[in-house]
């Protein structure tokens, strides 16, 4: 029995620690722990409710937009504000633009380094001038023994791509992706004022007033993003996923490979297509949303149910929080955030959310299965199983889909702007007391904000965010969370090189930071490994 501790697990957002126990070359148990807390829900208490979207955008600087929108929707709901069409479209555009760059950055910058032998670039001898320049650059860096941040890294294994042409092409796409991300921010800034961390989205809509000229520029930049998604990112994912990584796709690596994996998936509806017909459809019905919400249990892909938001609970049995005596779990609308970093038996700052008492996987794969993305279904029908590769696949597909949907939204916005000044806000007063809920399916999965207002102030504010679902620790029944279950059964042929663990965790695109040490349980010594 060897215990492996990964702290910090890098190339994710935030601070996460992963511990596993390995026996006979396979993971037999796992613990996922969030290692940083700021007390966001605590600091929102007693504030003016209108502060919430502004603060929510700072919960995470990577997926800031979706937090802002979910928070604004919770306020819309509480204030009884109907959003003007322009406001709704700008929110949709903001989230879909974010989706595109968030996904390709995740693939190239955060994930690809786990599958590439980056030093193969030095052996490139093709004729492409761009790739030759890249080769010379990397070779010069290697000669000066300074290849950070690409090194140090884990040792290569059989799933690493080593063909110089492929690697060099992918590394050049890595470089291009960073540039495209900066261009995406420039584009989104036209409607949000500052990127990252938008300023314009708040209760009642979006305050931005872009002109026709600005929107035409927006469209041009959008087309360039979509071009990159369709012709570079999607093609790369398909090539890698059905080529060198096909064995991992077929055995459900990081998912169904573990026979005991829960196979529960959930997503919320997003991208409303018109104003809701009724309150029930307002922020969480889904009948008029581009992406539908739903739940799947136990990998029964043909039995998708509707999401019942009343069935969401959070437990803190193994988290550094206290609930009142005798209370095991609470609905977020009644949620409680009371820190106790010295609680015995606790190991994480993450609460344990459950739907109908079950842990759920949220994120691109859940959206793909609930909405039955045709390409995903083709892949599954060809023998692939839900897991890490399918997650990457779904990201690329949906980036293309929301990118295409965005063009029609931009055109509609241009039409509105050419009739007169754009008005995206329905300015409402803060009610004396009200409750509200806002949901959106962030790039990383199901995101919900719950607010309770009393005497014009926030009485209670609770967020249940995607990585809380996925990185959840054990609950009061000792049922493991999603990362923990996904890791079990993972082959770790060499405990000094736990590359498979980080591949699986990164396939979820976590939003907290983590790290890896290796501990010898016999002596409890932490082994230090020299990087070759």
């Amino acid at each position: 029995m060897t215990r492996i501790v990964i702290d910090p697990l890098t190339r994710i957002e935030g601070h996460l620690k992963i511990e596993v126990e390995v026996e006979n070359g396979k993971v037999v148990d796992a613990w996922s722990a969030g290692m940083m807390a700021r007390g966001w829900e605590v600091l929102l208490k007693d504030r003016d409710p209108r502060d919430a979207p502004y603060l929510s955008s700072r919960v995470c600087g990577v997926c800031e937009g979706v937090h802002t929108v979910a928070s604004a929707q919770a306020l819309d709901h509480a204030f009884g504000a109907e959003i003007p069409e322009a406001g709704r479209i700008m929110r949709n555009l903001f989230c879909s633009g974010l989706y595109m760059h968030d996904h390709f950055i995740h693939f190239y910058v955060l994930s690809a380094l786990d599958y590439l032998d980056i030093m193969a670039v030095a052996s490139y001898n093709g004729s492409d001038p761009g790739l030759r320049a890249l080769r010379d650059k990397i070779a010069a860096l290697a000669k000066n023994k300074d290849t950070s941040p690409f090194t140090p890294r884990y040792k290569l294994d059989e799933f690493c791509v080593t063909d110089p042409e492929t690697v060099t092409t992918l590394v050049s796409h890595y470089v291009k992706a960073v540039e495209m991300k900066a261009k995406s921010s420039k584009m989104l800034n036209i409607i949000c004022g500052i990127q990252p961390n938008p300023a314009t989205i708040m209760a009642g809509g979006c305050t931005a007033t872009p002109s026709v000229e600005e929107l035409r520029e927006f469209r041009t930049l959008w087309e360039e993003q979509l071009d990159f998604v369709e012709n570079v990112y999607l093609k790369d994912v398909i090539a890698v996923g059905t080529g060198p990584l096909l064995p991992l796709a077929l055995n459900g690596f990081g998912g169904d490979m573990n026979p005991d994996y829960h196979g529960n998936y959930m997503c919320y509806p997003m991208f409303p297509q018109d104003n809701p017909a009724s309150e029930a459809d307002y922020s969480f019905g889904g009948s008029n949303h581009l992406v539908k919400g739903g739940v799947i249990f136990n990998t029964q892909l043909n039995a998708t149910g509707a999401v019942d938001y009343g069935k969401i609970t959070e437990s803190v049995t193994t988290s550094w929080y206290d609930y009142p005596a005798g209370v095991d779990n609470l609905h977020p609308s009644e949620g409680l955030t009371k820190f106790n970093p010295n609680k015995p038996g606790a190991y994480s700052f993450i609460k344990a959310p459950r739907y109908d008492g079950q842990p759920m996987e949220v994120g691109p794969l859940a959206r793909g299965l609930v909405n039955q993305f045709p390409e995903l279904m083709d892949l599954i029908n060809a023998g692939a199983k839900p897991g890490a590769i399918a997650r990457h696949f779904c990201r690329a597909i949906e980036s293309r889909d929301v990118g295409r949907a965005g063009l029609a939204w931009i055109d509609r916005l241009i039409e509105l702007a050419s009739k007169g000044p754009i008005v995206g806000m329905n300015d409402k007063k803060v009610p004396r007391s009200a409750r509200g809920m806002g949901v959106w399916d962030a790039p990383r999965g199901a995101l919900g904000h719950w607010i309770e207002i009393e005497d014009h102030r926030i009485k209670n504010y609770q967020l249940v965010v995607p990585s809380t679902w996925n990185a959840s620790p054990r609950d009061e029944k000792s049922v493991r969370g999603t990362y923990e279950q996904a890791l079990i059964g993972t082959p770790v042929p060499d405990v000094d090189n736990p590359i498979n663990l980080v591949r699986i965790i990164r396939s979820f695109d976590p939003c907290l930071a983590c790290a890896i040490h290796l501990i010898d349980p016999e002596t409890n010594d932490i082994k230090v490994y020299k990087v070759a």
Binding site: P8, L9, T10, R11, E13, G14, M36, A37, R38, G39, L43, D48, R50, D51, Y54, L55, R58, V59, C60, G61, V62, P84, P129, G130, A133, L134, P149, P152, R153, Y154, T169, S172, V175, K176, V178, E179, A182, N189, I190, C192, G193, I194, Q195, P196, N197, A199, T200, M202, G204, T207, V423, M425, D427, K429, A513, A515, I516, H517, V528, V531
Partner: protein, 374 residues
Amino acid sequence: MRDFLFPTIELTRRDFLKVAGGAAALLGLSQALTPQMAKALEESIGKPAVIWLEGQDCTGCSESFVNSLEPVTTSILLNSISLRYHETLMAASGYHAEGARQETIKQEKGKYILVIEGSIPLAEDGKYCVIAGAPFKEIVRETAADAAAIICVGSCATYGGIPRSGPTDAVGYLFRGTQKHHEYDDVTGNKPVVNLPTCPVHPERLVATIVHYLTFGTIPPLDHFLRPKAFYGFNQHDNCERRGQFEAGRFVTDWGDPSQQGYCLYMKGCRGPVANQDCWKRRWNQRTNYCIKANTPCVACSEPEFFEWFSPVYERQYDISVPGIGRVDIDKVAASVAGATAAGIGVHMLASHIKGKRDDSSADTEPKTEAKES
């Protein structure tokens, strides 16, 4: 392979000159220094090692740095600095990551730049942020001890930012809000510390600070919060493109009213009068836009009072700070100025009124009546 896919990785002499010229302009330096700065960038004297620590952060400042287009961030990473530790970008994980940090501290002792992103929680002995088994506050201490210079990016690393409002006693590297906390005095010594507050950090301000350091081995002149004067020596309100609307008493009171578009955002809580930065000139994301231009109030995220003392952010404030006068209650003053109201009078006129001077250049206009919301 299509043309547009050629990555911009190898900077030309012209690119270096462009970046250096931009940085010189940004820092208020003579353009005569441009060739020298370009040379420093190009040769990247020793390509200094950088350790980038993230504490109670949201990764927004890293995202903002990656948003640099001129120069593209990857070219900075490949040509100008050697990024040895950055949790979000580096290839290594766990032990290799931690090892890279330790090794840099040893090998580059006294030569590396430390960048801090996110606040530092001091409560409960630092239990609210633990990386690789160590409290973040100790990681900062250990890394700062042998750094050549320390750059705090964003309001969290500068003053504690938004987390300062929470229960974890979150502070910046030197400041807890407006006050110094002296937690790191022993390891700071005489090291240069630069604060680059705003939420998130502005990539141009960061790149220009690095270019200055690469060229001269020093940091640009700073104000009392250790912010480069070249970026933070300007008042937003005094330079605002909507200042004329303020003077004329035209305010946004209803975002849903198209006739109010372009009016002053003071009644919507704009903190421009107390915000010191150059956003009005620099804008964001390649000079595309910034909060006020996008029709939202400035929240003065460059200031130590952000966010705790500026909340609620969309509620007008009732007193205004006037340089040389201190805080002024705009309504009280207005009531004492016969026939004028706050809405129809500029702050400078109020200030001169208090000073007992006359200033006939401000025009009085009929004030709009505005209902205070909620």
